[in-house]
Point group: C2
Chain length 374, copies 2
């Protein structure tokens, strides 16, 4: 994966930052002369962090100096980029793979080609592109990366979906594909059903004729939430307390037992997913929102032959999946464009980044996905 411009930040007296692109120390060669004649990017306004810590205190909006756009590189004027939970974890330093500090935040997004290096083919100014597979440093107004980082998408793509199509919807799609063979009429069970991945699971399953059994936490107005998920295509929606019954499967009407369960919560919500699973079922864990561990008695492993697995999109993408990633992103964007895949987002001007970050950090309760608009 091509890295973002390698940055060495230093505070300057103006309170702004300058960026010195790190260069190789080898002696000038003929190409270097040509490189010097290439275009420069505009200066870029970016959200950066110098060290790991609480995102609301370690991130700062800075101005980065123009950088050279080398012959194989493309400069993209960013249009939109989301604040995902994994972005927050990278800044906190608790994510296993993260850019070296100092770094620009963000990992996915969408932009318009601003200028291309002299050797770049297939991309021209004005093209709509996303970094695909995603790539660090999308929270800035101009991003310069190698041309093969960028995937050209249809100009009709809705911007906010283009900005967010990989991290959440692709996770949902892969989890439905990679662990069991699902056929129309089959079912799946998931907790955390109101998350964006959860909403995508409901819609992608429904699109394939697969029933979804959905578990949500107890909350005020849970009936409204249930109706909303049913409107997306959910077959069954239960609060955790509704499932405090001897046999959860007795609550299912005309839906086969699910062979696939998806868990992004842990604790009791994970145990409930396990209770729904059929013989030889698989539960895939992709998050742990409750911060509680997964607890399983011995007997379902032995006598029900359950499997517990994990899914991490970044690992999947690392396994040479660039082509597949792009094909699936195109598929998902078509669905979004046709209104078959939707989820709530709030577009926030870049200058209001820190109030969007506060919402993403949960300081104001449940909020739609925050998407920065540059």
């Amino acid at each position: 994966m091509a890295m973002a411009r390698s940055i060495a930040l230093k505070a300057v007296s103006t309170g702004l930052w300058s960026l010195n692109q790190s260069r190789s120390l080898s002696l000038p060669k003929p190409q270097t002369v040509r490189a010097l004649s290439t275009t420069m990017s505009p200066p870029s306004k970016a959200v950066v962090y110098e060290h790991h810590g609480p995102p609301d205190s370690v991130t700062r909006m800075v101005e980065l100096s123009p950088v050279e756009v080398k012959e194989n590189q493309v400069c993209v004027k960013m249009l939109a980029a989301p604040i995902n939970p994994s972005d927050i974890n990278r800044i906190e330093g608790v994510y296993p793979v993260r850019p070296q500090v100092p770094a620009v935040g963000g990992y996915e997004g969408v932009g318009e080609v601003y200028s291309v290096g002299s050797a770049v083919k297939g991309l021209s100014p004005g093209d709509l592109v996303i970094p695909s597979p995603p790539s660090s440093g999308t929270w800035q107004t101009y991003v310069v990366k190698d041309h093969d980082t960028w995937h050209k998408i249809s100009k009709d793509s809705p911007i906010e979906y283009a900005a967010t199509i990989t991290v959440n919807p692709l996770t949902a799609l892969r989890m439905l594909e990679d662990f069991t063979t699902l056929r129309a009429g089959d079912s799946i069970v998931q907790n955390g059903a109101t998350s964006i991945v959860g909403q995508c699971v409901i819609q992608l399953a429904r699109y394939r004729g697969i029933h979804s059994i959905n578990i949500i936490r107890d909350r005020a107005r849970s009936d409204e939430v249930k109706e909303k998920l049913k409107a997306l295509g959910a077959d069954e929606v239960f609060t955790e307390s509704q499932l405090e019954v001897k046999n959860v499967k007795s609550l299912l009407s005309n839906i086969p037992e699910p062979a696939l369960g998806l868990n992004c919560v842990g604790g009791n919500a994970a145990s409930l997913v396990l209770k729904f699973l059929s013989q030889e079922g698989t539960m895939v864990t992709y998050g742990g929102m409750s911060k509680k561990p997964i607890t399983v008695p011995t007997s379902p492993f032995i006598f029900k032959d359950l499997s517990l697995r994990g899914f991490w999109l970044q690992k999947w993408l690392g396994a040479d999946k660039a082509k597949e990633c792009r094909d699936m992103v195109d598929y998902l964007l078509r669905l979004a464009q046709e209104g078959k895949l939707k989820y709530e987002m709030e577009l926030v001007p870049f200058d209001n980044f820190h109030s969007a970050l506060d919402k993403a950090l949960g300081k104001h309760g449940s909020q739609p996905k925050q998407v920065i608009k540059f």
Copy 2:
């Protein structure tokens, strides 16, 4: 799988029991006449239970009437049969697959062919045989079952190993084969290492050049236990309390991180197995001796890509594995005969069944495997 003689027990005034073989109610056919001329088994002394409950109170030693040995059946004089934990669970009624009551106890064992039905080929009186795959009702002096239940084994097989070769050693063998590809020089980690399966794992691994990391519970004289397991071929043996360190892997010297872990304990001992596992490792659960659940934080599923699976020999055998089962039993018996596979057993005369049962139930602390000698 051929069933044991179907029994309808009724108490008789003598205190003994009689057995009426259940017959079909169809009108007599010519074959029936021939069947009547077949041999009868001797009367059989058996450990039976009429209803589920505590094995020491619901089992009784009774005498069963002779039964017909039909043309495709073989009557075997039993020589030895173990009391396995799963036999106890079947009597308690907590095992998911169990014979209908009233039933004769036992599931594996070894015997000598006593008589064969008129159509039986390939088996003759005097042959040493085991029910393979195992089959219910081995706790009796004479067992009549269809000829294809019986697997003829080498007459040189040590009787106590022939009696016990399937339930424990085959579980060990399959778990080493079925979940990961292990090569010489690789390693595995297990808890419950002093169990018979655990001891078999150590020896079968060593025989293939695979290192074993073994976890035992804290106990008096743990050094003696460690030496004993090392004499069997264990590379490393740790008590649970020795593993209360920040990084358990730092305790390994010259052994690669294991990709396979085996868990028959649960609770903390299962968590310790997980801590040793390599990236993308698999933990297989085949028992839950501590009666505590398995608890896993979210992150190893996602970022270490661990898998949790289960193994149940009876399910494996149910998948049309009779031929493979017999091949592996022969392999394991050869190892036992050559002294490469060994574990402690106590042979107990059948008349002392209930004292052996008390030992198997743990009433007298840790004891060797109890094997009934008829």
